[in-house]
């Protein structure tokens, strides 16, 4: 395994411990990066073929690996014979097997053989087979491509001061567009998010410097659904308008004239499939594809362009004096490699944002496909979701360590997550913040996004006793005060 070991995924894949060399049972691999399966030989042999079979079962989240790489060891060094990409798209809906193989009539002289298999969600393998002869002499492995011993140097956390953080130090996710009062933010709601408000009602210090507005998951990603969302988002007296007013108020209290709160708006994700989006420029857009646009790329790009034009037009017309738009958020928490045309679609979205001078941000869940490649996908910055507190009683602190390690490996920020304000929830929350501090992801050390369910921090801020602890703890973390605790 070259990824970060994770006890949750390890427990999952422990259910599928079939012998990878036989066809009797599958061996399952869950997330955690690339897997390396090595066969060490008692002495040098002429290897003529290496093969392994993989399973595709889309509904179960089992996908062919994107590729299998074949490597050979000679004199203590590894050499690559190359990768074989999946011959079928990962969007394949057949339940089927595929054999990845390397072969050579002359063979390769080696003392060990290994295959490298990237695991994005689940990969199931069986039938790992190496054929060769101790009697014959193969070609020199040194003629193959040498394998770099340590190709990936950790990049370190996404610093708040990094240019690609675009000034985002502490960014609160604000969900709107549904769920009544939970999805409706007033000026009064925003004040305790913009600045710390004591129990006695005193505003003492700035809190979140950035607000990320995104639609609730129940908002339909159709033209009608998104139009309604935008109408609500820009309606007077609430949401963005309320934020603008709240910033003005807090600025006066904190004596910081001219300060502008940073805002990130969302770009919706339109999945390929049997969906009719609506009418754009007199043309009905569907995401099922057409003979000339089989991946529905053009249709999805038109919808994306329509939406961005709408939201930017609304933004410009609103003239929010206390708000500054600093970027767009890609509203999909994973890179769906298994969906048709996905890479081109995400690339388009980042280029579309760039054409308006805006960066595109991403907050993938832990283990999501595409995390190691987030820069290549076109994102300007990314924050990883640890998904630690969501595990409740089963939560393992190793997840926080792993999330921090992953973020450091790939130059990401981290999302701080709050899913409840009960005593048990608080214990987990404290643990997660303590771990972040301990692993160099405290305030000023890394950029943070904050997920608090639906207004949990606001609820906490307006509470007393135990229920207020979450708000105070968050403020302390943002202020750089060490958090102790944990379960």
């Amino acid at each position: 395994m070259d990824g970060v070991p994770d006890p949750v995924f390890e427990a999952e894949e422990a259910k599928y411990l079939g012998d990878v060399t036989s066809f009797a049972e599958w061996r399952g691999f869950s997330y955690q990066g690339k897997r390396v399966i090595t066969l060490t030989l008692p002495r040098a042999a002429d290897i003529v073929s290496v093969s392994v079979r993989a399973l595709q079962d889309f509904p179960l989240g089992i996908y062919f690996p994107r590729y299998v790489e074949f490597q050979f060891e000679w004199n203590g060094k590894w050499y690559s014979a190359g990768r074989e990409a999946s011959a079928y798209p990962l969007s394949t809906r057949n339940v089927m097997a595929q054999t990845f193989s390397w072969s050579s009539s002359q063979g390769v002289e080696a003392t060990a053989v290994r295959i490298l298999v990237p695991v994005d969600v689940w990969v199931f393998l069986d039938g790992f087979d190496v054929k060769g002869s101790f009697g014959a002499k193969g070609a020199s492995a040194a003629a193959l491509t040498p394998v770099a011993s340590n190709p990936d140097k950790p990049l370190g956390p996404l610093l708040p001061s990094a240019p690609n953080a675009h000034g985002i130090r502490n960014m609160l996710l604000v969900e709107t567009g549904a769920n009544g009062s939970l999805g409706t933010w007033s000026e009064q709601d925003f004040v305790p998010m913009l600045a710390y408000v004591t129990e006695s009602g005193q505003i003492t210090a700035p809190l979140f410097d950035t607000m990320l507005f995104l639609p609730y998951g129940s908002v339909p990603t159709t033209q009608a659904g998104l139009s309604a969302y935008l109408q609500d988002l820009f309606a007077p007296g609430k949401q963005l308008s309320a934020l603008n007013e709240a910033v003005g108020y807090v600025n006066r209290v904190l004596h910081r004239p001219g300060y502008k709160e940073q805002v990130v708006l969302s770009l919706p994700y339109f999945p390929y499939g049997q969906v009719t989006f609506g009418s754009v420029n007199g043309q009905t857009l569907t995401f099922a594809g057409t003979p000339g646009d089989p991946d529905a790329l053009s249709a999805r790009e038109q919808a994306e362009t329509w939406y961005l034009n709408q939201i930017l037009s609304d933004w410009n017309e609103a003239h929010f004096s206390n708000l500054k738009l600093v970027g767009l958020y890609w509203d999909e928490e994973q890179f769906r490699e298994t969906m048709p045309g996905e890479a081109a679609y995400v690339q388009f979205a980042s280029q579309l944002a760039a054409s308006h001078g805006l960066p595109l941000f991403w907050i993938p869940f832990y283990g999501a496909s595409g995390i190691p490649d987030w820069k290549n996908l076109g994102f300007s910055a990314a924050w990883i979701q640890p998904n630690y507190v969501e595990q409740g009683a089963a939560a393992n602190l190793a997840r926080m360590t792993n999330a921090a390690e992953t973020a450091a490996q790939y130059g990401m920020g981290v999302e701080v997550e709050l899913v409840g304000i009960s005593q048990q929830d608080q214990a987990l929350y404290d643990s997660s913040l303590a771990q972040l501090s301990a692993y160099g992801f405290g305030t000023n050390q890394a950029s943070h996004a904050y997920y608090d369910g639906s207004k949990l921090l606001l609820t906490s801020a307006r509470s007393a006793g135990e229920a207020r602890v979450a708000y105070d703890t968050t403020a302390s973390f943002i202020a750089g005060v060490a958090i102790r605790g944990g379960s």
Partner: protein
């Protein structure tokens, strides 16, 4: 008489050119140890006269000329020329052309154009004959007759021929059911059934057709008309032949709607095994069978040569429901059988337009323009692929090639280098209703010193692991 004259001339030539030296020595020096006689010949209750014999050292030989005369009377064509005994049967009459011993003597036997064995022969001049004649051991003669479906037995001084296993020849150049079975057996891997008793009145166990026909019936290739009638020697329409090919390929009747064309005859036309203008209900001729068998052979090997340096891929057929479409994990991949049939038809059309060419020592795959639609191809190889969209343009290297992502100019042609590790080409279709794509077929193309190899790769539905109940994230 003309035949006899020709034979006499030939036998003299045999003595001079091809008779074994032992036989020549016998002619020169051991005539006094021979005794000439004759056997009475009968077919059932019908006497056909006598056949000269010569006995020497306890071995009895029979005159080849008389044997040929009997065969000619039974509908065969037998001739002798330059030490070669040629016997031909009407196309619809089976003969056993399996190889026999090659080292028994100097005369060669050719059966229906196939050299099957060398047999010992000798020449002698029977009393009263005008010249020397060729003789072969009676045991050899009985073995040759058995190859023709004639059971010969010697009873005292009578050689009795049982011709009950010989079918009535079909008119013209028509072929019978057994012809089709025998012609397909090699390419489709059918081995003759072992000797046994026949339940069929029209197919004796001693018939050369017995083993193949019985094996075909057992394998389910062919359904006889009744339990007591094989129909082996009946004419066969090419529609029936197409059905036989279907059965031989394991394509079941219940899966018919999923095959290109949807029926055996339409399928055979759709995948290019037979011309479109054949009348399915007309009896098949030997020429038509030859075309069908040749095409099927090329199709099953996956390609046909179109020039010394060019080959067209020919997608090997299979029961597409079994090989491809049942891989939906318990759910149908297509909304209807007609949708599935159309998808399979497009699959065959795509693969059948692929070409392999050899230019300047390099093997290249030429990919046809993928018509605008929901189908697309992926090409992969260990180490990645190298392709070009127009002759003379830069070769592009990539991990894999997806025709959805490649724009080929109208005047261009997509070509992919075939590396030593070969190429895998898959054909797929967009499937918005499933939110993904469907794999419809694949081939593995390999090249090397022995030439081109093409293998079809079925969409393999393997044993599945236990259900995944939770996926944490």
């Amino acid at each position: 008489m003309e035949v006899r004259k020709a034979w006499l001339g030939a036998s003299a030539l045999l003595a001079a050119l091809s008779a074994p030296s032992v036989a020549l020595a016998q002619i020169a020096g051991t005539v006094s140890h021979r005794s000439f006689s004759s056997l009475r010949l009968s077919v059932g209750d019908t006497a056909l006269g006598g056949i000269p014999t010569v006995t020497q050292d306890g071995q009895t030989d029979v005159a080849v000329w008389n044997l040929m005369q009997v065969l000619n009377q039974l509908g065969f064509t037998a001739s002798w020329s330059n030490g070669v005994l040629s016997i031909s049967a009407p196309v619809s009459v089976p003969v056993d052309t399996s190889p026999g011993p090659q080292d028994k003597g100097g005369a060669e036997v050719i059966l229906d154009g196939t050299a099957i064995e060398h047999i010992p022969s000798t020449v002698a001049t029977p009393p009263g004959a005008s010249g020397p004649e060729a003789f072969i051991p009676i045991s050899i003669a009985i073995e040759l007759l058995a190859r023709l479906g004639i059971a010969a037995t010697v009873n005292g001084n009578t050689l009795n021929l049982d011709t009950s296993a010989l079918p009535t020849p079909l008119p013209g150049n028509e072929v019978a059911v057994w012809n089709v079975i025998a012609a397909l057996a090699s390419d489709l891997g059918l081995s003759p059934a072992p000797a046994g008793s026949s339940p069929y009145a029209d197919l004796k166990a001693q018939s050369p057709a017995w083993g193949m026909v019985q094996a075909a019936i057992r394998a389910g290739w062919y359904q006889p008309p009744s339990p007591s009638e094989s129909g082996a020697f009946q004419p066969i329409t090419w529609a029936q032949a197409a059905q036989l090919v279907w059965s031989a390929l394991g394509i079941s009747a219940q899966d018919a709607a999923y095959q290109p064309g949807g029926s055996p005859t339409a399928w055979a036309s759709a995948i290019g095994l037979v011309p479109d203008n054949w009348n399915p209900s007309s009896d098949m001729t030997a020429q038509e069978l030859g075309i069908l068998v040749s095409n099927l052979h090329d199709c099953l090997q996956g390609y046909v040569a179109t020039s010394p340096t060019a080959w067209r891929i020919w997608y090997p057929p299979a029961d597409e429901y079994e090989a491809t479409l049942q891989s939906g994990g318990g759910q149908p991949l297509f909304a209807s059988a007609s949708d599935a049939e159309a998808a399979m038809q497009a699959t065959y059309q795509f693969f059948n337009q692929l070409q392999v060419v050899r230019r300047s020592g390099e093997w290249l795959l030429v990919v046809p323009p993928v018509s605008q639609g929901f189908g697309f191809a992926c090409v992969t190889s260990t180490g990645g692929v190298t392709y070009q969209t127009s002759a003379g343009k830069t070769w592009i290297s990539a991990a894999s090639l997806d025709t959805r992502d490649v724009r080929v100019p109208a005047s261009g042609q997509l070509m992919v280098k075939i590396p030593p590790s070969g190429l895998v080409i898959t054909w797929n279709q967009m499937m918005p209703s499933l939110g993904g794509t469907v794999a419809l077929g694949a081939i593995d193309v390999q090249t090397g010193s022995s030439g081109l190899t093409v293998d079809r790769m079925n969409v393999d539905s393997p044993n599945l692991p236990p259900p995944i109940t939770t996926v944490s994230g």
